[in-house]
Symmetry: C2
Subunit: 234 residues, 2 copies
């Protein structure tokens, strides 16, 4: 379920379309609410409507687009409630991943996490938000893969895609002092994992997710006043 981002070369046409469209949506290249025409996409990719149609269908089950029968296909616009729910799930899964990783003992992912922290320290020190955002993504990624539970990973990736999380990270890190605080929390989590203290690692990781959510919400523009979908607000 929900293949990773890789594999867009020799796969079938529809697999390429899926990968391409997924990338565009989670990167923000196309905005939530935007309509997606089967015909237009088919012409753009130089294929027929059939593979495009099936690709959109899969993206629907992944929660990235919404197909309104006989009307059209649109990029999903998560409601405020859905965002809250997604963060609740993120907290849950990442907390569990931290605990599972702690239980596994010494595995390569832990080394890579520590290496990640070293680079992150440097990025924070020189105030390089761009690079730090990348490292944050890699940190959470290592945590999940380190849990060594493929189902957990698959569900996590689905969630992150729905959140278009890569876009949000930069917002939350734009809050003053947030990168430094975030970095410290990462350090603490890894420390607890190394000590094999799964319970504490989970607890701290969950608190970290809540903190990052608060930072994100604080950085969002006028929460709830503007309902514009980006195309043409009423």
């Amino acid at each position: 379920m929900a293949e990773g981002t890789g594999g867009s070369a020799n796969r079938s046409i529809q697999a390429q379309v899926i990968a391409e469209m997924r990338g565009r949506i989670i990167s923000g290249e196309i905005d939530p609410g935007d309509p997606l025409s089967e015909l237009a996409l088919a012409e753009e990719f130089g294929v027929s409507r059939t593979p495009v149609r099936e690709a959109l269908k899969q993206l629907q089950t992944e929660g990235l687009v919404e197909i309104r029968p006989r009307v059209g296909t649109f990029v999903t616009t998560p409601s405020r409630r859905e965002i809250t729910e997604l963060f609740e799930m993120k907290e849950l899964l990442e907390g569990a991943a931290a605990r599972l990783l702690a239980q596994r003992g010494r595995v390569p992912e832990i080394d890579r996490l520590q290496e990640n922290l070293r680079e992150a320290d440097a990025a924070v020190a020189r105030d390089d938000h761009e690079r730090y955002a990348e490292l944050v993504g890699e940190f959470h990624d290592l945590l999940i893969t380190g849990a060594d539970n493929h189902k957990l990973e698959a569900h996590y990736r689905t969630l992150m895609n729905q959140l278009a999380y890569s876009r949000l990270v930069k917002t939350s890190l734009s809050q003053p002092g947030r990168p430094l605080q975030s970095d410290r929390e990462h350090h603490l989590v890894v420390e607890l994992i190394v000590e094999k203290d799964g319970d504490s690692a989970e607890q701290v990781m969950r608190e970290h997710v809540r903190a990052s959510r608060r930072a994100l919400m604080a950085g969002l523009p006028t929460p709830g006043s503007q309902s514009s979908t980006g195309t043409a607000g009423a």
Copy 2:
């Protein structure tokens, strides 16, 4: 994402096919490993191959079937490892649901849980495994819906479908003394929820899932020796 089991009447053709096939797979009407031919299904349902094909594609993203390109479509056969992972996720999500429900305070689902327990007590008392299995399903269902997190619910249902859990419940309850023990654990969980003790509710719920998993594994026939797919055991 992943619509519930309801709604198979006035929806589109492919929605009906999806619901029907999903039902057959999770009920065990068709066995893991069985091949599914687009053409055969299309003829059976009296439709063309297109909606069948799209339905199978969605079932693939739900993890119920596996489409091997140019080869065929087959009902997924969960490996032993996958089953372990699925139970890990089940423990995680149901534990979280218990905690969330406890935090919500007095909601209708709690009343229904208590009513469920009364019926379950009666079923256990008269050794009615069939009815108790139903009530167990309803119990876990109430717990999840009571958490009031639609994402949690959607992911949970996907997991349960992959496990074909409804079939497994009966196996685990066939272990001597398991129904009584299970019923007691349910009581304890609800008690903690009513007391709004979310942490303990989560902990006990997770332990309950682990216990049910142990009971299930103990009841499975020769774990790992026979690789028969069930179609024609030697």
